[in-house]
Structure formats: C-alpha cells, structure tokens
C-alpha cells in the first residue's frame, strides 16, 4: 500500500506541534547528550593530534641535522638498531618530516611558507625496551653527541599526563552521554506514547477501517526521527562552536603555540558530525519504534 507523502507530512507535523513541549524536551535531551558525546570526540581528537608523534611507546626522538650525510644517518641507525635496549626504531625522512610539520602547523601558514622540505631534519623515533625513565634518559643521551645529531627530544611528562588524563575525561563524558542518551530515548518513547494516547480513538478507527500497521506507525516513527535529527543538528552546532573556540584560543595565545597540534582538522569535525547524526537518527527511530510496538498493539 502506498503511503501518501502529504498524509504522512500532515500527521507528523500535527503530532509534533500538538506535543510541542515534549517534542522540545526530547529534542533538547538528544541535543545535550549528543553535544557531550561530540565534545568528548573533539577533545579526543585534539589530544590525539597533540600526542600523535608519541604514539606506540615512542619515548624519545633523535633529530638529525638537515645537512647530515648518509654515512652519519647510517651510523646512528645502526647504533640504534643494534642496541638491545631499543625495542623499535622508526626512521622519518625529510619528506615524511615535512608532512608531519605541515599537519602540526597547519594553522600557521607564514611558518609553512618559510620552511621548505630541505630544511626539515630527518629523525629516528625510538621505542625503548625499558619503561624506566632513568634508563630511557641515559639511552637517549648517548646519541646526543653523535656526528650529525642535532638534538634528542624526550616525551614530556606532561604529554604522558595529558594522554592519561584525556582517557579519564573521555570515559567520563562518554558515560554521562550514554546515560543522557538513554534518557533521551525514554523521553522520545514517552512523547510518542502521549501522542498515541491523545489519538487513541483515531487509531482505533484507523484499525477498524483497515489501515495497515505501517500506515499508523510511520508518522510516529518519523516524529521520533525528526526529534533525533534536530537534536543532532544542535549538537553539531555545539561541536562546531567548540572547535572555533579552541582554534581561536590556540592561535591567540602565544604561550600555547606549542599546542597548535591540538587543532582539530575539518575532516575530524565532519567525522564527528556523521557520528552525531547517526546516533541522533538511531535514538529517535529506536525510541519511537519501541513506543509504537509497545502501545499500538496492532
């Protein structure tokens, strides 16, 4: 049976309007929970960006001079690879270093213009076998005076703290947003139930004259979907504002220039949006779907 579009649109619209306060309540609950979830995603991406170069147990980086010759590179590499205290070595050549530089300093075009690929130092990212700070420090310092080596950079204790801290924050926010999401689900469930209760005579007549279950169901499910999507839109706006605030704060504060790596890329923002939209639709449709099958008794 064909569902007529204008019928569905009219029914859905009047349902939403008739229960405007509940509609707004469900929408806002979805919005708040998704905003928290989106915020957690943004923070997660930010921390991830900032600590990207320290992933995978990398504790220090041996930066070579840009002018270091192949012999010097080979000897440092050999020393690192043959050392029993080194678990893993990753060589970053000039091209890769330039790529990383471009990502990290994407927000400072003047810096990007000033530096070309040849000026980039090649480097060795080292993951030591030991996790003892003194051992790592001693190991790293061995290479400081090798020919061709510019400097050895250790992972700051602050980076470590940040990574740990970010995990706690992330799980905390995720927990709260899950709870709120469930609340949103129940609110939508309740909204639809109220709408159905208000229209129980109509539904009774519809069933008696032979309306199919889907014909009765679809406007209600669409109503939930709209509530979910509207909530997701609000959350998308929130994450966008959050990103803007973050960016402005980072680029205005000279002391924080080192943290430019926090900057969230547009791609990461869009992927967060896709997630938000997906969860908005899911919560809305699921909530109304549950309410309909539970209260329609068709």
């Amino acid at each position: 049976m064909a569902l007529k579009i204008n019928y569905v649109a009219r029914e859905t619209g009047s349902n939403l309007w008739r229960n405007i306060s509940l509609t707004v309540a469900s929408m806002l609950t979805v919005a708040v929970s998704l905003s928290l979830f989106g915020g957690a995603q943004i923070i997660y991406h930010g921390i991830g960006n900032a600590t990207a170069r320290w992933k995978g147990g990398i504790e220090f980086i041996v930066f070579m001079n840009p002018t270091a010759n192949d012999d010097q590179l080979a000897s440092v590499r050999k020393a690192l690879e043959s050392s029993p205290e080194v678990r893993k070595v990753e060589f970053v050549d000039k091209t890769a270093a330039y790529e990383e530089f471009r990502t990290l300093f994407a927000r400072q075009p003047e810096l990007l213009d000033a530096v070309d690929q040849n000026a980039m130092p090649p480097s060795f990212k080292v993951a030591p076998a030991s996790s003892d700070a003194d051992v790592i420090s001693a190991l790293g310092k061995q290479f400081e005076n090798d020919p061709g080596v510019r400097e050895v950079v250790f992972a700051f204790e602050t980076v470590r703290t940040m990574q740990r801290f970010s995990q706690y924050v992330r799980w905390g926010i995720l927990g709260v947003s899950v709870v709120l999401m469930v609340a949103a689900l129940m609110l939508i469930l309740n909204t639809i139930r109220m709408a159905m209760f208000a229209r129980r005579r109509e539904i009774e007549v519809m069933k008696l004259v032979g309306a199919t279950n889907w014909f009765i169901r679809v406007p209600f499910m669409l109503e939930g979907l709209i509530q979910g999507v509207l909530g997701a839109f609000v959350a998308m706006g929130t994450t966008w504002v959050l990103k803007r605030v973050f960016d402005t704060w980072l680029s205005n504060n000279q002391d924080l220039r080192i943290f430019q790596g926090f900057a969230i890329s547009s791609g990461q923002l869009v992927s967060t949006w896709v997630l938000l939209l997906f969860f908005g639709c899911l919560v809305g449709t699921l909530g109304s779907g549950l309410a309909v099958s539970r209260y329609l008794d068709v």
Binding site: M1, K4, E204, V205, K207, L208
Partner: protein, 225 residues
C-alpha cells in the same frame, strides 16, 4: 459469506462468551443477533473482524479461514467489513466529510476518489446539508448515519452493526433500519446485534438467538422471541 464451525471463545479461562457455535450466513443475508446482555452477541461480531481470536473452532469470512490469517493481512480483511457501533466512534475534531473521507484516506484511496465518493455516500444517508458540521453539532441519529456512511463508503461485502440503535429513540431507529435495509439490498451482508424487539419483529429477517454463549435459535423470517 460467513461460516462459523464449532467456534468457542473463553475469556480468562472461565467466562464462556461463545460455546461451540456453528453458523452459516449467505451473501446478501440480513441477520439479527439477539439475546440478553452478556449472551455473546458482541463477541460474535468481534470475532468476525478479528478483533478477537476464537479459543476453538474455525471462522471463514469471504471464503478465507481468518484464524490462519497473518496479522499483517488483517487490515485487508477489515477493508471488506464495515463496522457500526452503539457509540458511533466518530472523531470529534473532524467534520462529517472528514470523518467519512478518513476511512478512504487511511486505506490509500486517491484524492479524486475521496472527493467523488464521500458526497455521494453522504447523500445516500441523507446528510448532504451537514457535510461541514462537526459530530457534536448533530443529533444521535445523524451521528449514526455518519458512522454508517463511513462503514459503507468503501463498499464492503459485509456490514457488522453492534447495537446501532442502542442509543436512539424508536422513531430515529426506524430511519437507521431503513438505511441498513437499503444497504442490504445492494447485496451487502448485514449482521446486526440488537436488543430492539420492535425492529426485529417489524423487519422479519433471519434471527439468531444467543443465551450464555449458546445458539438456542436460528430462524429465518423470525421474531425477537
């Protein structure tokens, strides 16, 4: 058109609303169901449009065993059955036109069909002048006419009426019965549960009498008792 084979309906394991009932109703028949309150008349009617499931036995409507019917096919069964009730079941926030049109819209009839069918059926029930009125602006008899129009607008094979004159005075009831008779003459099978002795005795149609769930009489051209 309608056949019940040894149908029983038991509510909550103890209330026997219908016991081992077997009835055969031909196409185009007009049948009165009579009996005291609680004798099983309403259950009989509710079984026919699958508002209730029989505890035992088989029910055939328009040649189909409706106990075997998938639940998603029930709406299509109901499109062949019009229903009229004692309390009309009109939607108070819709006009007379909209109440009748609703029955066509929810089964997906196109707009031009709605626009031509609804005024025609309202003329048949004699309500052409009240087309834009709301149900609470109509008398009981007029409201029942609207509900009959709604039940019949889809030209169903069967019309079920559960005490359609129960809330109406005798003069108004006669008008409603004339209308149902007219619908019956178009070939629609009518099954009507009633307490109204005068109507049954005047019409002289087939009478099925129920007593505590048992069919105790099935008489063509019968009277109330």
């Amino acid at each position: 058109m309608i056949r019940l084979e040894n149908v029983s309906k038991v509510y909550k394991g103890e209330v026997h609303a219908l016991r081992n009932a077997s009835v055969d109703i031909q196409k185009g028949e007009f049948v009165f169901l009579v009996g005291a309150s609680g004798s099983g008349k309403s259950t009989f009617i509710r079984l026919l449009n699958k508002e209730e499931e029989p505890t035992d036995g088989r029910i055939y409507v328009a040649g189909k065993d409706i106990a075997q019917l998938n639940s998603w096919k029930v709406p299509y069964l109901r499109r062949n059955i019009g229903c009229v009730f004692q309390d009309f079941k009109l939607l108070p926030n819709k006009t007379v036109f909209e109440n009748v049109a609703f029955a066509l819209e929810v089964i997906g009839r196109p707009g031009h069909v709605v626009k031509s069918q609804v005024p025609a059926i309202l003329e048949l029930v004699g309500l052409s002048k009240k087309i834009e009125n709301f149900p609470d602006e109509l008398s009981g008899g007029e409201q029942q006419r609207v509900s009959i129009a709604r039940a019949f607008v889809n030209r169903p094979l069967i019309l079920l009426a559960d005490e359609p004159t129960g809330n109406l005075d005798p003069a108004t009831s006669v008008g409603i019965m004339r209308l149902l008779d007219r619908i019956n003459r178009t070939g629609t099978t009518v099954v009507m549960a009633t307490h109204d002795r005068g109507i049954v005795d005047t019409m002289r149609r087939r009478v099925i009498e129920l007593d505590r769930g048992n069919i105790i009489r099935d008489q063509s051209r019968g009277v109330y008792e």
